[in-house]
Structure formats: structure tokens, C-alpha cells
């Protein structure tokens, strides 16, 4: 992830947005990237990203194999995280669930942020344009305000009630639910950047809108946008986990980590690891991403906007 941040740094003699980078970015970034909590977060996120791809192939057992005689068995050398209500290996089920929990959430977040960014930039570009553009901006912002007034879990419930639960629907739901927040952030970032002198200079040079957006505006809002992406990913993971926990997310025989908590909820009475292990897996993922983002900085902007 470290290298993917570098596009935010200016290339050649291009001016930097003064409001965001007062000091030279390199001096500011290096100590932050080396913070211990940030490294821990990076390690956790890296681990889970690898598991999202490789998890099913490194799992010791197939996801649905009945391998243990015990239901809700304890941790043992054969079953490191115990067994579930049917005697399946929890570690294997978590590893097989990783592509669902991480993959679906990632797909939803990417869609949400792409949509939000495209619309946000459209709004910002239109808003700084003529009178007709201002109108476009106004309509977009008003529609987003309405969408953001529907609590996300509630929106997901309506979608599932109407269309039934499936992986594509969950991705679409997450994308629609978190797009307005992304729109607001991107729009406000872009509007800020667009008032700066180098944009005026580019306009005076006669550059087109596409050039201004892709070459001048986007690189200068990359870091806060990346931070926002991470926070949004955490929210989407939590939303999807909650939906699966309610039995309205990923449907059997497939299972993400939220489904694993749901199907093993009876283990709670016995204090078996079957119910806690998948819940803790979700917590490590979300806390890992949060730690990583905190060390990247830029959270303040998000909180100020209250999204």
C-alpha cells in the first residue's frame, strides 16, 4: 500500500495544494508510515488481503467437510479454532469465508467510491461552471442529502426485502448505501482544490475540463480520498457482517464471517470458540484497517464532515 500513495506527491515542478501539504510531503510522511501501530495495521490488512485470495487453498479442510465428532469442540491441535455445530473445522470455514467477507466488501467499497468520485467531481466541476452547471450540482447534492438520510442498515434491509439476498445485490447495496458519503467528501475536497491558483492557471492556459480534473485535481486529493476509502471499507465490512448475522446477507451453503457467528450463536452458552473466532476475525480486519488509516492521517477531514 505504501507505494500506491506516492502519486499524491508532486511530480516535477507542479505546485501542491497549499491547504493540504504545508510541509514537503516526504518529510511529513516518512515518520508516520513507520509508526508501530501503522505497521501492525499494515501487517494485519496485508495478511487478510492474502487470505482473501489464498485462504480457500491453504485451509486444512474443505468448507463443508464434517471432520470432527464434537459439535462446538474446543481449541485443539487438530482444530486450532475448534469445531462448529455440525463438527466442521472453524479455521477452515473462516479461511473459506475470507473471500466473501473481504471480497464482497472490497467490491462494494470500490463501487461506492468510484460512483461517489465520478459524481462528486461532476458536481464540483459543474458547480464552479456556469448557471446550468450550478443547477446540476444543486440537484445532485439534494439527491445525495436524501439518500444519506436513510440509515445504512435500514437501506440494506429494504433492498434485501425487495430483491432477495445474493452476492451481486449485497455489492450493489453497499455501493448505493456508501456512495453519498463518498460523494460529499470528494465534492468538498474537489471544490477546495478548484479554488486554488494553479487551477486558475491551468484554466488560463486553456486546458480542458478532463485535463484539469485528471491531471490537476485528482492527484491533489488522493491521500484524503484514500483515507476515506479505508474508513468506508470498515463500514461496509461491518454492514455486511451485520446483514449476514441477521441471516439476510450471504446465503448458505456459502458463508462469510457474519454467517459463521449466526450459525454458531448457540455455542455462546458453552463458551465455545466457534462463535467468538469469526467475530474476532472481523474485529481484527476492521481494527487493522483503522490502525493503518490513522497512521496515514487525514481522519480529521472525515470527522468534520460527519459522514
Amino acid at each position: 500500500m505504501t507505494s500506491s500513495i506516492t502519486p499524491a506527491a508532486p511530480e516535477g515542478g507542479r505546485p501542491i495544494a497549499p491547504s493540504m501539504n504545508v510541509q514537503p510531503p516526504k518529510q511529513r510522511r516518512r515518520p508516520r508510515m513507520l509508526s508501530i501501530t501503522g505497521l501492525i495495521g499494515l501487517a494485519i490488512v496485508g495478511f487478510w488481503l492474502v487470505m482473501a485470495v489464498a485462504g480457500p487453498s491453504v485451509a486444512p479442510h474443505p468448507a463443508n467437510a464434517l471432520v470432527s465428532d464434537d459439535s462446538f469442540g474446543p481449541m485443539s491441535s487438530a482444530f486450532p479454532l475448534g469445531s462448529d455445530y455440525l463438527g466442521r473445522d472453524i479455521l477452515s470455514r473462516i479461511l473459506h469465508g475470507a473471500p466473501y467477507t473481504i471480497g464482497v466488501a472490497l467490491a462494494g467499497t470500490v463501487c461506492a467510491c468510484l460512483l461517489g468520485t465520478v459524481l462528486g467531481l461532476t458536481g464540483a466541476a459543474a458547480g464552479t461552471g456556469g448557471k446550468a452547471g450550478h443547477w446540476v450540482d444543486e440537484v445532485l447534492s439534494r439527491a445525495m442529502d436524501a439518500l444519506i438520510s436513510i440509515p445504512n442498515k435500514l437501506f440494506a434491509l429494504i433492498m434485501v426485502a425487495s430483491f432477495g439476498s445474493s452476492v451481486p445485490l449485497l455489492i450493489l447495496t453497499a455501493a448505493l448505501a456508501y456512495m453519498p458519503g463518498s460523494y460529499r467528501i470528494v465534492r468538498s475536497l474537489a471544490v477546495n482544490v478548484m479554488t486554488l491558483d494553479f487551477i486558475q492557471a491551468a484554466r488560463a492556459r486553456g486546458e480542458g475540463m478532463a485535463y484539469i480534473i485528471f491531471i490537476e485535481v485528482l492527484p491533489n486529493m488522493f491521500r484524503p480520498a484514500l483515507t476515506d476509502f479505508g474508513m468506508r471499507f470498515v463500514y461496509v465490512v461491518l454492514l455486511l457482517a451485520a446483514m449476514s448475522f441477521l441471516g439476510l446477507g450471504v446465503q448458505p451453503p456459502d458463508a462469510d464471517w457474519g454467517s459463521l457467528v449466526r450459525e454458531n450463536i448457540l455455542a455462546l452458552g458453552e463458551g465455545a470458540p466457534a462463535v467468538l473466532a469469526p467475530a474476532v476475525a472481523i474485529a481484527t480486519l476492521t481494527i487493522g484497517v483503522t490502525l493503518l488509516i490513522d497512521s496515514l492521517g487525514g481522519r480529521g477531514k472525515r470527522e468534520k464532515d460527519g459522514v
Binding site: 436524501a146 435500514l154 433492498m159 425487495s162 461491518l238 457482517a241 460527519g306
Partner: protein, 317 residues
């Protein structure tokens, strides 16, 4: 209240009403414009086209969509959101039976969370950067980034399984004494409060810090006022608006939180009613519950915005 202030508040209320109207349109569009409709779903695959058409006519589904939307909206406004498809009862009665429970749970959670969060938030702001501040900040980050069901599971494991103080489910129908009340409500409220307190405390801290960094506080410190006095008599009165704003915004967390908490503890509230409706695809009930949640959310956001407007010293006479 002067006229500028009144105009701003009225304007905000108006835009709130408009937003609610758009929300109702979105909710209706998602839930009512399906390729297959309720009549088909209710009768199943084997139904003859005639019976489906008859049931559609009975539900009014043969009317054009915009007509149904206005009919539904009109019903909502006069408090008649239709009848449940699952059991034929009036949706208003079903909701009326459950709503007090949810409001009670939310009110108790708010009563516990608000004083706790304000204390933590103000203390963190006063002793910014101290061990207390950093511990609370870490705890808050952890509390908002783990799923609610993990917190609930840990609470059940601790209080119901290991200590055996409380039952794992919430039995609200058998409340005869204060101890019954505690047994029924402690764990749901505890679970709700974790996320709620975390969010509220962080926003309160930010609001107080904002005030503490303003020039008049510096002036008060320069003239030699003690830190406690600076916070209590100088900063806090000015932070009331931002804090009210933070409290109202954080309370909207409850709307998402109760869905999970009611489900885990089998609490008979509006969220469990809605979850059942979602599972049986009982659309009139889903729509009504959804609008109720959206209304609650909008009201909290409105309270937050209006308290921010009213407390703005620049608008005071």
C-alpha cells in the same frame, strides 16, 4: 428568538420535510416497483392468471405506480399505512404494539449514555493528550470498529455464562420488580451504549476542544482563572450548542444499533418486527417500519442542526 434565527430554523425545517418526501419516494420505488409483485408472491407459481389479477385488484396493484405512491403517502400522513400481507392485521396496530418497547430501550440507552459520554468527552478535552485521553480514544476507536454482535457476545459470555448474573435473552414481558427490569435491560443497554458512548464522547471532546482553543479561553487563562473554572464557566456555556449537536447526531447511531441488539436478545421491538417482515417479504410492514426509522433519523438530525443554528452567538440579539 429574533427574525433571522426564526427564518433559518423554518428554512431548515422545510428542507427537512422535502428530504423526507424524497426519502419516501426512494423507499416506495425500491419496495413497490418490482417485476413480480405481492399478489404473485402470495399465490405462488401455480396460481392462474385470473386469481392473480383478482388479488392484484384487491390490493390495488392494478393501479398505476404514481397513483399507488400518493395513496400510500396519504395513508402514512393520516396514520394508516395499510394492512400486513402476512397476517392481515393493520400495520398501525402491529407497530403500535412494538414501538413503545423500542422507544423505551432507546430512552434508557440514551439516559445511561449521555451523562457518561459527556463526562468522558469533557474530561478528555480538559486533559488532552493525557493517559486518560489516549486510553479513552483508543477504546472509542475499538468500540466503533468492531461489530455490535461481538460486543453483545462478549457481554453474554461474561454476564450470562461465566458470572451467571443475567439471562442471555431479554424477557420484557415478565417485569414485576426492579430486579426483573435490570435483568431484562442491562445487556441490551450495555451493548447499545458501547458504540453510542464512544461516538458521543469523541464528538463532545472535539466540540469542547474547539472552544478551548478560542481566544476568549486564552484570555481567561491569562487572567489567572483555574482550569476547572475556565472549562466550567467560560468554555462549557459556549459549547452547549455544539455538544447538543454532537449528542443528537450520535443518538442516530441507536437506529442502526437497535436492529442488531433487538435481534440478539430477542427483544420485542420495532426492529425485530421489521426483520420478520423482511424475512416474509411483508412489504406494507417493511415500508412503514422503514419510514418510521427514517423519520426518527431525520428528527435527530434536525434537532442537531437546529441546536447548532440557535446556539450560534452571531445570530443572538
Amino acid at each position: 428568538m429574533n427574525s433571522t434565527l426564526a427564518r433559518l430554523v423554518v428554512k431548515r425545517l422545510g428542507s427537512g420535510a422535502l428530504t423526507l418526501l424524497i426519502v419516501s419516494l426512494v423507499v416506495f420505488t425500491i419496495t413497490a416497483l418490482l417485476p413480480g409483485d405481492a399478489a404473485q408472491a402470495l399465490l405462488g407459481q401455480e396460481a392462474t392468471p385470473e386469481t392473480v389479477a383478482a388479488l392484484r385488484a384487491q390490493f390495488g396493484l392494478d393501479q398505476p405506480a404514481y397513483f399507488r405512491y400518493f395513496q400510500w403517502l396519504g395513508g402514512l400522513l393520516i396514520g394508516d399505512p395499510g394492512t400486513s400481507l402476512a397476517n392481515g392485521m393493520a400495520v398501525a396496530d402491529l407497530i403500535g404494539g412494538r414501538l413503545p418497547n423500542t422507544l423505551k430501550l432507546a430512552a434508557i440507552a440514551a439516559l445511561v449514555a449521555v451523562p457518561l459520554a459527556l463526562t468522558i468527552g469533557i474530561l478528555s478535552a480538559m486533559f488532552r493528550g493525557s493517559l486518560f485521553d489516549r486510553t479513552m480514544n483508543t477504546a472509542a476507536v475499538a468500540a466503533v470498529s468492531v461489530p455490535e454482535f461481538l460486543i453483545a457476545s462478549l457481554a453474554v459470555l461474561l454476564f450470562a455464562v461465566h458470572l451467571q448474573w443475567l439471562p442471555a435473552l431479554s424477557h420484557v414481558s415478565e417485569i414485576n420488580s426492579f430486579s426483573d427490569f435490570l435483568r431484562a435491560y442491562t445487556m441490551p443497554v450495555l451493548t447499545l451504549c458501547c458504540g453510542l458512548v464512544a461516538q458521543m464522547a469523541r464528538m463532545t471532546r472535539a466540540a469542547v476542544i474547539d472552544q478551548l482553543s478560542s481566544p476568549y479561553v486564552e484570555m481567561a487563562m491569562l487572567k489567572g482563572a483555574r482550569p476547572i473554572r475556565v472549562v466550567l464557566t467560560h468554555a462549557l456555556p459556549n459549547a452547549v450548542g455544539p455538544i447538543a449537536n454532537a449528542v443528537a447526531l450520535s443518538l442516530s447511531y441507536l437506529l442502526g444499533g437497535v436492529i442488531i441488539v433487538e435481534s440478539i436478545f430477542h427483544y420485542p421491538g420495532i426492529a425485530t418486527l421489521m426483520l420478520d417482515a423482511v424475512a416474509t417479504r411483508d412489504m406494507p410492514l417493511v415500508q412503514a417500519c422503514a419510514m418510521l426509522f427514517c423519520l426518527g433519523y431525520m428528527m435527530l438530525v434536525l434537532v442537531a442542526d437546529v441546536s447548532a443554528i440557535v446556539s450560534n452567538p452571531r445570530l443572538r440579539k
